[in-house]
Every structure is written in structure tokens, then in C-alpha cells.
């Protein structure tokens, strides 16, 4: 067994609202700790080099690439993953609109997009299309062409503002 797995690091932090303790090899990234030591596999990896945004999670409300953060750096922080977005009351509006509009095709990049979008909506309840593009520009999606993702974010923002909103007919059926 290689040397660096022998002495585990130990941290306590808040994970999806719950106080959490975990021990892990100290060189592990937050991504690896979440997936391998806490079995929260909802956080995905696309490159493990900080290039694709797939592994984004929220740390103290800010989106970070969990592949570039050491697990040790989560000590005392508030970490939120896709698993923490839904609760017993139901899905987060973003999860609902992503699911219902087809913004998740293969679904692999979806958790990262959801969390970055959540951060955006926490600061900006009425983002323009350009602001959404800007906020999501660090996340790659190879399936959707991003359009259904923009629409899902806009729809969730409207619903979170208390508006009754649905997708424009053109987005569902094309131009008629």
C-alpha cells in the first residue's frame, strides 16, 4: 500500500446542512472526499484539472471546483452538493425546471450547472440571458447546446420570484 494512504486526515464541516466528520488520505481533493469517503457520487468529474466545471460544489455559498480544492480546506466550512438541493418538501426549483424542460440530457454535467445556477440566483433574482451565460461560462455541456439550460434557469428564477411561469411554446414545439 502506498505511503500516503497510511495517515488519515480528519475534518469536521457542514455538509448539506448536517454536521459531518470524515477521515481521508490528506492529499485527497474535496471531489475525492465527497465521492469516495462520503459516497456522495452526485458530484461528477470531467477532467480533474479545473477545466470543465463538472465538479462544482458550493463552499460557504460560493461555487468552487471541488477537483481543485483539498479536502482539508473544507474544515469548518459549509459545503453544499447536488444531494443537498432537494429536501423532504421536494426538489429545488432549479432541479424541477432542469428536469421538466430537458436541460439534463445525459445528466453528467447537471449537478455542476445546478449549483452554479443556484449561486447566481442567490445574488441575482432577475438575471438576464447574458448574465446567465456569463455565470455558466465555466461549465461545459456537450449535449444541450446550453439553450434548455438557460431556459431552465430563467424559469426557476421566475418561479422563485413567485411568478407562474412555463416554457415559451416556441422552446417546446419550435417555431410554428
Amino acid at each position: 500500500m502506498s505511503q500516503n494512504t497510511k495517515h488519515k486526515a480528519h475534518i469536521t464541516f457542514t455538509l448539506n446542512g448536517e454536521p459531518t466528520e470524515v477521515a481521508f488520505a490528506p492529499h485527497k481533493t474535496l471531489l475525492e472526499v465527497l465521492r469516495e469517503d462520503l459516497s456522495l457520487t452526485g458530484t461528477k468529474h470531467g477532467c480533474e484539472l479545473g477545466e470543465c466545471g463538472t465538479c462544482a460544489v458550493l463552499v460557504d455559498g460560493r461555487s468552487v471546483l471541488s477537483c481543485l480544492v483539498l479536502g482539508l480546506d473544507a474544515e469548518g466550512r459549509r459545503v453544499e452538493t447536488v444531494e443537498g438541493m432537494a429536501d423532504a418538501a421536494g426538489l429545488h426549483p432549479l432541479q424541477e425546471t432542469f428536469a421538466d424542460t430537458g436541460a439534463a440530457q445525459c445528466g453528467y454535467c447537471t449537478p455542476g450547472f445546478l449549483l452554479v445556477a443556484k449561486e447566481l440566483l442567490a445574488h441575482n433574482a432577475t438575471p438576464s440571458r447574458e448574465e446567465i451565460k456569463e455565470a455558466l461560462s465555466g461549465n461545459l455541456c456537450r449535449c444541450t447546446g446550453y439553450i434548455k439550460i438557460y431556459e431552465a434557469v430563467e424559469l426557476a428564477a421566475a418561479r422563485m420570484r413567485g411568478e407562474e411561469a412555463g416554457l415559451p411554446r416556441e422552446s417546446v414545439y419550435g417555431i410554428e
Binding site: 477545466e51 428536469a99 421538466d100 424542460t101 430537458g102 445525459c106 461560462s137 416554457l167 417546446v172
Partner: protein, 822 residues
């Protein structure tokens, strides 16, 4: 009950309850909550981790491999090399040229050489670095020209030439006669650079050889059935003892369609260690797996009349195949197959050559072998339209292939909505007030802004399977539960396109229940009937038809039992809203669950099957297997671009795209496929390329997500989509494909728009700023205002296989060859 193919089930016509409605996907919520388990999310007790040592040499003999130091590392359980897996494999029966781990030689940088299983990933990685391999370098074959010129060394010991994998020459009708009839003949040369799928999910697999000597492999694969066959073959296991479960694919696009070395290697490691073994490729390794778009050099010559009617076409393609066969024989034929299905081509000749080179193997990427020739054809037609001073959209519209006809190369066309597609995008883009009719002195858009049009078509499923057999291409089993639930089992694989949902929608429509009452169980070779896989845009059409057949058979059983109970004629019964009732008296009826109880009481456990086999193609000549399909989808695209003449930078501002979908099973998902296709086409048009350092042993220039440029939200253009619905008699409820076709017209539409914007032709992709600038410089110097290849290699194509066209009274067979006496 008649076999309606779903077009008119139960006489309800267009009054569908599920089909055509924007339901969410059956797995959408799992994907948005992190509950979907992808291959790398699977963890089993006592699971080991594997790493694969890959060749740093592009072409070399393996002189020796010493694994002793790796085996000595604590925590290492097994190390295997090519000796442990001596049986070759490959996706096509004619190209069984791969080994899970190289046996005697390596053929590209990234070729797998050895594999380690260890207690954790770090240990496996450390041990992998201790494996010592001695190589003896061989001369490399780096490109098509070298492959044609160099006889020794050979990359493989088979093929149609020393380093030529495949060479084909087909002629349909007398093309020389066709060119003589032409009033204008034009010849052009194009190059399409290779690019890769870049799925967000890296390939991963988990193998478990259990205490009963049975092997289970979970893998991110689009083709579990073919992986099943490859595992049984290479591991020497009875196929009945091998189970392959395709996990939901985190994007495929064709890149997970081959059986892969890492799948076989982890299976072998699990057999040796008797523990579960996982492998997850790094992003760099995914670039070496590749199987992406072939780089293709093309020459096209077309004869036309003054109105743009084609009299003959001659198409030559040269594919850089990389180091292995993969789907390459099919890819080669595909570069010549679909030129005939959009505009009438009465006489047609195709010459195709695939070369072996010391680079990662190419294979099928979205559009498989057809985007390259489509790019060439649609720009070539644009140039012809300029030669003839015709509006390029109108010229295309005037000469469309007619529905319900057979092309010169024996492809049977069914429904054909391309005309409507062209009309939609011409109108939507305001084409007529933007296009300058080839007169640069009377431009309607400002200099630097341009508009271009292109069209395309794609198959809705390959007409023939990968290996010869006469069984169905897709099977579906239904189980009806007495509580009212329905279980659909099918071998199809959801790669994000929504194929699991299509099964639920189709069955729900026929049985009158809610799609979310249905449990869909797919892609498990132990539990689901064979479906050939998620490739060739075959799944909606083929599994859809199989599912309709199974559901109609179930409905028939329920109808008999309910009719008896209610004393109503069978033909009076309707299935809707979870009820079975008398159409003449809707209050008289039973719930769907009660109907199942009645049927189960009468017949026993209710289960039905359905299957689908494509219609036989009229082509009988050698090579007729590639191109036939039950139906063809059509797309038309207009792109509007902005070109900065100072930097050469091309911005695609908006794309109008119309797609002939036959009928949308779910329009929202169709829209998503169209938008995703435009996106991927945009990447191919402007930035994506697999390139290698020729002077440094053909090493990949940038195997990373950062350096391999793909469009982000900031590059993605605005898309205006039109869905054209013209139900095809072969499609389930009339549906055709949408996953691949809409990608095809994007690249040539962008290229044509760049020409309109700044008056230079970039006859290759990606259309990078550098190429635009070089073309602008050439134009400024009074040279040919173009960037692109100058010509194609000279090859002895030998005599073509000649086939008389249907119009000439041909029967689809090869004409007898006339003996030549010297």
C-alpha cells in the same frame, strides 16, 4: 387487431395522449438530484482499482515487458500484459485487429500495454509506473499520403494495401455519359479535420467475476450487446456466463460504441483476483480511446444543367483511420453513401480509401462518416450556384429527391420533408432580403456579415447489423402487473438522448396509461432482449416499433378479457387515462389494473414481446449494406455570421434550422437534440480538432479539455428551430431520427456564410481565424481567394464495381465484368 405501426392505433388518428406531448424524461429527476448512478459511481465491497499502462511510442515492437517490480508493490493484486489476453477482437467481423493489451507491437501513443489491479487508485498508479517495457522503434506512418506511399513497415498485416485498410470503387450508371450531358462541370477539393466526441463522462467500467464463475461488467457503453460478444470471445467464457450492464452514459456521441480494451482488461483482472475491479479513464486517456471523426480529404466533381439539375457526380474520399479498424470499413462506405438522398443524382461514382496511421483510431462520431462529404457537397453546390448565378436555396429546392423513390445507389427514400425545411429557414431567416445573389457590389448585408445555407439527411438506423444475422435488430418484452404497473424490458441504452423515455411514452400511448406508471429496464444482457445499441440513430425507430408491437399484443389480450366481461365488441374498446372502456358509452369500462386482472385470470401471467427488423434494401451489390435505412431524416440550415477581417475571427450569430422529424414522440426532447446538434456542429465548424505533432512522434497536441477547444456558453449561437412533421410509414407513430441529422448542415452553412461575409472560401474545418486570414491575404494578393487543400493523392482505383441504376432498369446487382483482352 391490425398492425398499425402506431400510425393510427385504435383509429384515434392524431388524437394522441402521450405522443407529441412534452413530458419530462422518466429519468430526469434522478439526473437532477445526483441519484443516477454512472459507471464510476459504482463501488462494490473489496473492489480493486485498475490502471492501464499506455505506449509512449507511436509505432514500435515490444521487445520485453518486466512486471516484477510492479507486482512486488504492497497492495498490488495482479498485473497483466498482452500474453494474458491473446485473442483479438474488434467491432466489425472484418476488422478483428485489436488486442486488449498489445501483444507484439504498439501502433499509437496511448495504445494499452499492461494493466494493474491494486487496492486503491494511487497504488495502481505507482505500480504502473514500475512496469518496464523495452521497445524497438519502427518508422511511423503519420498521414494519408504516407500510408499510400510507404509499403514497409506495415501497421497491420491485412487490408487492401500495405497501409491501406480499405479501398472501394463503385459506379452507378455511366457517369462519363452523365458528365457529357452536363452544361457545366465543376471540381473541388475539401478537407475535414478530425475531431472527437468529448463526452463529459470519461469511460469507466466495473467488472465482477463472482463465486459462480459468472462475470458481470458495468460499463459506460452505447453497445452492451457487442461488448457482451467481445468479452465472451476474448476471455474464452461462455456468453451465457457473461452479463453486461450498460450504465447511463454521461454522453456518448458515438465514442462509447466500440468494445474497449479497458473493459476486457478489468474483466480479466477480476477473473484473476476474484474481486470486483474498477477502471476509470483519465481525460487524457479518453483522447486516446477516441474513435472520433475521421480526417477526410475529398474531391468532388459534379456535372449540372443550367438550372442546377445534377447529371452526374464523382466523389473521392481519403480517410485517415488511425491505428485500428474500428468501424472504419463502414465509415469509408458512409463517406460515399448519402450524397444521393437529398438532391437527385442520376449517375454516381464513389471512390473511397481508408488509411492506417500511427494515431488514435477513428470511428463513429455523430453523423458517422457523413458530415465530411456533406460539408464538401454543400459548399461545392454553393460554388455551382454562384457559377450559374442561381439562388443556392432555390437551386436546392428545385432538384430535391422525390419521396417514395429509389436513388441511383439503391437507397429507398420514404417520406421526404426537405423542401418544407428549406422553405422554413429561408422564410425565417429573411434570406431573400439578406442574400446578395453573388453580386458583391450590391450587398444587402454590411461587409463582414454573411449568410449561408446548407441541407442534409441522415439515416434512421442502419439497415444491417454489425455482424451478419437474420434476427431482429431490437426486442422488447412487456410484463403487466395485476396492480396496473407495466414493465418494459429492452436492450437499448440511454446515452442522454432519452431512449428509456421513448419506450415509456410509446407503451403508455398504446395502453392508455401514464408514462410514469411504467418501469423501464434497459441495457442489461441478462435481463433484456437484444437491442443492437445506441448508434446510427436507430433507437427511436427500432425500439419504438418493437415496443408498439409488444404493447399492441398486450392490448389485444386485455381487450379480449374486458370485452368478455363488459359484453362489448372488442373493436369498441378504447384505452385511455388508465381505463379500458366502450367508445360508444365511455362510462362502461374498467380500470387498466382491473383489465390486467381480467386478462391474467383468463390467460395466466400477462407478458408479451415485440421485435423489429428493418425492411430489406433493394441494393444487392457488394457494399450495399451501408446506407440503407427504414427512413431518412432531413435538415436545412441557414447561418448568419460576423467575420472580423482584421483578426479572421468568425462569430456565428444565429442559426435557423428546420428538421424533418416525421413525428415528434416528444417535441421538447426533439428540440434538445436539434439544439445540441447545432452546438456540436458549431464546435466542428469553428474550433474542434484532433491534431498531432508530426515532428514529435505523432503525439497528440493537446489531450485536455482546456486546450481542445469546444464551445462554451459564450460561443454558443442563438438557434431558431422549426420541426417539420411529415409522418413516415416506417417510423413509430411516424417518427424519424433527430440525434445526428441536424448536426450535418451546420458546418457547410457556416462556411458558405463566411464566404458571403468576406468573399473568401475556407474549404476545410475548423474555420480558424488563421485560415480566414490566410485566405484574405491570398485574396488581397490577387491569388485564389481560398484556404484549403490543393489536391488528392493519385491512386490506382482499379475497375469499379458497376451497377445499373434503377432508372436504367438495374436490379441492384453488380453488372457482369467484361473480360479485357490485351
Amino acid at each position: 387487431m391490425s398492425k398499425t405501426n402506431g400510425n393510427n392505433p385504435n383509429g384515434r388518428g392524431k388524437d394522441f395522449k402521450v405522443v407529441g406531448k412534452p413530458f419530462r424524461k422518466v429519468d430526469a429527476r434522478a439526473k437532477c438530484t445526483g441519484q443516477t448512478l454512472f459507471a464510476d459511481d459504482i463501488a462494490l465491497p473489496r473492489m480493486l482499482y485498475a490502471k492501464i499502462l499506455r505506449s509512449p511510442e507511436p509505432h514500435a515492437l515490444i521487445k520485453s515487458i518486466d512486471t516484477s517490480k510492479a507486482l512486488a508493490v504492497p497492495g498490488v493484486y495482479a498485473v497483466i500484459t498482452g500474453k494474458d489476453l491473446p485473442i483479438p477482437y474488434g467491432i466489425l467481423p472484418v476488422s478483428q485487429d485489436e488486442h486488449a493489451l498489445c501483444v507484439e507491437k504498439v501502433r499509437f501513443i496511448g495504445d494499452p500495454v499492461a494493466a494493474v489491479a491494486a487496492v486503491d487508485e494511487d497504488t495502481a498508479f505507482e505500480a504502473m509506473k514500475l512496469i518496464e517495457v523495452e521497445y524497438e522503434r519502427l518508422q511511423t506512418i503519420t498521414n494519408i499520403e504516407e500510408a499510400i506511399m510507404v509499403d514497409e513497415p506495415r501497421i497491420h498485416e491485412y487490408g487492401d494495401g500495405a497501409n491501406v485498410h480499405k479501398k472501394v470503387h463503385l459506379e452507378f450508371g455511366d457517369t462519363e455519359e452523365g458528365f457529357r450531358e452536363a452544361e457545366h462541370v465543376r471540381e473541388d477539393v475539401f478537407f475535414y479535420e478530425g475531431n472527437t466526441h468529448l463526452p463529459m463522462e470519461q469511460h469507466a467500467a466495473v467488472a465482477h467475476f463472482d463465486a459462480d464463475d459468472k462475470l458481470t461488467l458495468w460499463s459506460a457503453t452505447q453497445t452492451p450487446h457487442y461488448v457482451h460478444r467481445a468479452l465472451a470471445k476474448t476471455l474464452g467464457l461462455p456468453a451465457a456466463h457473461v452479463r453486461v450492464i450498460a450504465t447511463p452514459n454521461g454522453g456518448g456521441f458515438g465514442g462509447k460504441s466500440d468494445p474497449f480494451n479497458h473493459e476486457i482488461a478489468v474483466a480479466k483482472l477480476s477473473m484473476l483476483t476474484r474481486r470486483p475491479v474498477k477502471v476509470t479513464l483519465t481525460r487524457e486517456e479518453v483522447f486516446y480511446c477516441h474513435r472520433g471523426r475521421h480526417p477526410v480529404l475529398m474531391k468532388i466533381k459534379t456535372g449540372v444543367r443550367r438550372d442546377g439539375a445534377i447529371t452526374a457526380m464523382d466523389f473521392e474520399s481519403f480517410l485517415d483511420g488511425g491505428a485500428y479498424g474500428s468501424y472504419g470499413v463502414a465509415s469509408t462506405f458512409y463517406t460515399g453513401a448519402l450524397q444521393t438522398v437529398t438532391y437527385e443524382v442520376p449517375r454516381y461514382r464513389f471512390k473511397g480509401l481508408r488509411a492506417f496511421t500511427n494515431k488514435p483510431p477513428c470511428g463513429p462520431k455523430r453523423g458517422h462518416g457523413t458530415p465530411q462529404p456533406r460539408f464538401a457537397l454543400e459548399i461545392h453546390l454553393d460554388k455551382i450556384a454562384e457559377d450559374l448565378k442561381l439562388d443556392p436555396a432555390e437551386m436546392r429546392l428545385r432538384h430535391l429527391v422525390k419521396p417514395d423513390t429509389v436513388t441511383a445507389n439503391y437507397l429507398r427514400i420514404g417520406s421526404m420533408g426537405l423542401g418544407t425545411c428549406i422553405e422554413k429557414v429561408v422564410e425565417g431567416s429573411d434570406w431573400k432580403s439578406k442574400f446578395s445573389n453573388w453580386d458583391r457590389t450590391k450587398r444587402r448585408l454590411p461587409e463582414g456579415k454573411g449568410i449561408g445555407v446548407a441541407c442534409s439527411s441522415y439515416i434512421c438506423g442502419a439497415g444491417l447489423p454489425i455482424y451478419w444475422n437474420s434476427m431482429p435488430h431490437s426486442g422488447v418484452q412487456l410484463g403487466l402487473d395485476r396492480q396496473g404497473g407495466v414493465r418494459v424490458q429492452c436492450g437499448s441504452t440511454d446515452i442522454g438522448q432519452g431512449s428509456d423515455s421513448v419506450l415509456a411514452y410509446v407503451v403508455a400511448e398504446v395502453l392508455g396509461i401514464d408514462p410514469f406508471d411504467i418501469r423501464v429496464l434497459t441495457a442489461d444482457t441478462d435481463l433484456t432482449p437484444v437491442d443492437l445499441g445506441s448508434y446510427s440513430s436507430r433507437v427511436t425507430l427500432m425500439t419504438g416499433n418493437a415496443a408498439i408491437q409488444a404493447a399492441e399484443r398486450a392490448r389485444e389480450l386485455l381487450s379480449i378479457a374486458v370485452a368478455e366481461k363488459l359484453s362489448v365488441p372488442v373493436e369498441n374498446l378504447a384505452f385511455a387515462e388508465r381505463r379500458v372502456f366502450d367508445v360508444e358509452n365511455p362510462d362502461v369500462g374498467v380500470t387498466f389494473a382491473e383489465a390486467v386482472v381480467l386478462a391474467e385470470s383468463k390467460f395466466g401471467t400477462i407478458g408479451t414481446v415485440g421485435s423489429y427488423t428493418p425492411p430489406r434494401s433493394p441494393g444487392r451489390f457488394k457494399g450495399a449494406g451501408v446506407g440503407p435505412s427504414p427512413a431518412y431524416s432531413y435538415s436545412a440550415c441557414v447561418a448568419e455570421v460576423d467575420v472580423d477581417a482584421q483578426t479572421g475571427f468568425v462569430t456565428v450569430e444565429r442559426v435557423w434550422i428546420a428538421h424533418d422529424i416525421g413525428r415528434s414522440i416528444n417535441p421538447m426532447l426533439v428540440m434538445g437534440q436539434v439544439e445540441g446538434s447545432v452546438y456540436m456542429g458549431l464546435g466542428e465548424a469553428l474550433m474542434e480538432e484532433m491534431i498531432y505533432r508530426a515532428n514529435r512522434n505523432v503525439v497528440h497536441k493537446f489531450p485536455s479539455l482546456l486546450e481542445y477547444k469546444s464551445p462554451t456558453t459564450l460561443e454558443m449561437c442563438d438557434v431558431k428551430t422549426y420541426l417539420v412533421e411529415d409522418a413516415d410509414p416506417n417510423g413509430p407513430f411516424g417518427a424519424k431520427e433527430v440525434g445526428q441529422g441536424p448536426l450535418l448542415p451546420v458546418m457547410p452553412a457556416v462556411a458558405n456564410a463566411v464566404y458571403d461575409a468576406v468573399g473568401v472560401r475556407v474549404d476545410e474545418v475548423p474555420i480558424t481565424p488563421e485560415k480566414v486570414l490566410k485566405a484574405l491575404q491570398a485574396k488581397a494578393q490577387g491569388k485564389d481567394a481560398r484556404y484549403g487543400p490543393k489536391g488528392v493523392p493519385t491512386v490506382d482505383w482499379q475497375e469499379p464495381l458497376k451497377v445499373l441504376t434503377p432508372a436504367e432498369g438495374g436490379d441492384g446487382r453488380e453488372m457482369p465484368r467484361v473480360a479485357v483482352h490485351s
